[in-house]
């Protein structure tokens, strides 16, 4: 593992140029039937093909609507529509980076979790019923950061995972 990854902390999320660099990414135009179509159009008119695995991931999330009550054996309800919509929006943004989630699960409090993993480094994106979203970074099960999801924290967390040394030509 690269030592530079271990040294990243919350202050690394504070620099201001990132939002300008990612504004158009976060505001992707969302196709409402994305799992059936092959492209997503971002606000800068860039059209990106949706990878098959992202389409499959979107379909999986859509199936969670139909989970029965008590699906976890402890009385959980299916994910909320807000959680489903926001998690699908995130997957469409992820299409632009050609990255594939390693785990997509509903949570007992009607949310959706999408994980991305590289070796033992993991990002956990949590989409909640109240329309809020969070991102946490882990090395193993040791939490390194935990933030509300914004353009900045989304970009920086993905960079933390996929390009920790900042010296990558095509991670985006």
């Amino acid at each position: 593992m690269n030592d530079s990854v271990k040294q990243i902390n919350e202050t690394d999320f504070g620099f201001g140029l990132v939002a300008a660099a990612t504004g158009s990414l976060f505001a992707a135009a969302i196709n409402k039937s994305a799992s059936e179509n092959s492209t997503v159009t971002f606000s800068e008119s860039k059209v990106v093909a949706i990878p098959e695995k992202i389409k499959s991931a979107i379909s999986k999330i859509e199936t969670y609507r139909d989970l029965p009550a008590n699906w976890n054996g402890y009385g959980a309800n299916p994910p909320s529509e807000n959680s489903i919509r926001n998690s699908i929006d995130f997957l469409l943004r992820l299409s632009k980076k050609q990255r594939i989630p390693s785990l997509i699960i509903p949570t007992p409090d009607e949310g959706i979790v999408i994980e991305l993993q590289e070796d033992d480094i993991r990002l956990e994106f949590l989409f909640l019923p109240d329309n809020s979203s969070e991102v946490s970074g882990y090395i193993g099960n040791d939490m390194k950061f935990d933030h509300r999801l914004s353009e900045t924290t989304e970009y920086c967390s993905l960079k933390w995972l996929f390009c920790p040394d900042g010296n990558c030509n095509d991670w985006e």
């Binding site: 199936t63 969670y64 054996g73 402890y74 785990l103 699960i105 007992p108 009607e110 946490s136 935990d146």
Partner: protein, 122 residues
């Protein structure tokens, strides 16, 4: 049912989904959301005290659920968490993990947990 003391060496059992959805990652590890309370878990997170039940009873349906076990002492080793016996109608083994379970604490709990092999639940 008389309330029993949960010793540090007593095991507690917690179900997790392994079909649809599936909480097991591709590398075989289990998501810490197995220890995520829901909005109805006001008093604490439900677990079963192993010495008052069996894994086969607690798992309910081994086609849908797996089972984690964790020692009472491992729960108490997480700051501000404790476990207490809390029998309910139809489940004398019912117990609670009490205290606020944060993301970090969920991960400490999953680290301290061991999965019971599925073959032992059938």
């Amino acid at each position: 049912m008389e309330i029993v003391t949960i010793g540090n060496d007593d095991f507690l059992l917690r179900r997790f989904p392994l079909a649809h959805p599936n909480y097991i990652r591709p590398d075989g590890s289990i998501s810490s959301f197995a220890y995520q309370p829901s909005s109805r878990d006001i008093d604490g997170l439900s677990v079963d005290l192993e010495k008052l039940t069996t894994p086969k009873v607690t798992v309910q349906d081994p086609n849908i659920f797996g089972l984690l076990k964790i020692k009472g002492g491992s729960i108490r080793a997480v700051p501000d968490l404790d476990c207490v016996h809390n029998p309910v109608d139809g489940n004398d083994a019912h117990s609670l993990i009490i205290g606020k379970i944060t993301k970090s604490k969920k991960n400490q709990l999953i680290d301290a947990s061991e999965r019971i092999p599925q073959a032992e639940l059938i």
